[in-house]
Subunit: 139 residues, 2 copies
Amino acid sequence: MEQRITAVTLGVADLARSLAFYEALGWERKNDDEDVVFFQAGGMVLALWSRGSLAEDGRVDDPVGWGGVTLSQNVRSPEEVDAVLAAAGEAGGTVGHPGAATFWGGYAGVFADPDGHTWEIAHNPFWELDDQGNVRLPG
Amino acid sequence: MEQRITAVTLGVADLARSLAFYEALGWERKNDDEDVVFFQAGGMVLALWSRGSLAEDGRVDDPVGWGGVTLSQNVRSPEEVDAVLAAAGEAGGTVGHPGAATFWGGYAGVFADPDGHTWEIAHNPFWELDDQGNVRLPG
């Protein structure tokens, strides 16, 4: 597993309210999807998404011991997704969501570390991932 | 508030266990402090710290609606810390921990966004913050 982070997703109760909050702080969204907000944040992405959907995707109960945050690492192939998830399981993590094709056309899975912090490992063919491991949103 | 993230801190129950987990995944820590682990992660830092201390520093109850994650943004002066915290409060956030000198020689405060996600805004004179907003650990 490479030592980097490419996205932080915040699970939110009301997307419009959260978007308004970050826009009020000067953040500018990069996408126009209905259900998710993406901000380019340096070489990273900050995403806002339904907290219920985020818990469901990570296969975690909410709010018992988990606070609506998932960290993501974008990798270069579906095979690398599986390899990282396998390594996480071997290291003592819990792979609640094994690697699988996603509804958005990529391939991803989610593991929880020993404290229940969730990491999505994803191959997203629509996002540029540069040689330095920085992810860039399209558009 | 600039549109970037410079650190992700994971609150953990057992620092040695969590360090062993990330080391098993190939992460290499950059520091040798007793109570906190820092990993350089691209232009970011991933930190592991006592979940109890993290909750206390952010002035949040645990585990009610908050799962042991704080996002950080390092800025260039104590005055900028205060300006960002003020903007967060004006935008509808809750500044639970106003800007103040820290025990480690910096200046920081913490706000919670509308969902209770906590952001530490920090001026740390010991960490390099480059022109692109990337933070670099010493050593």
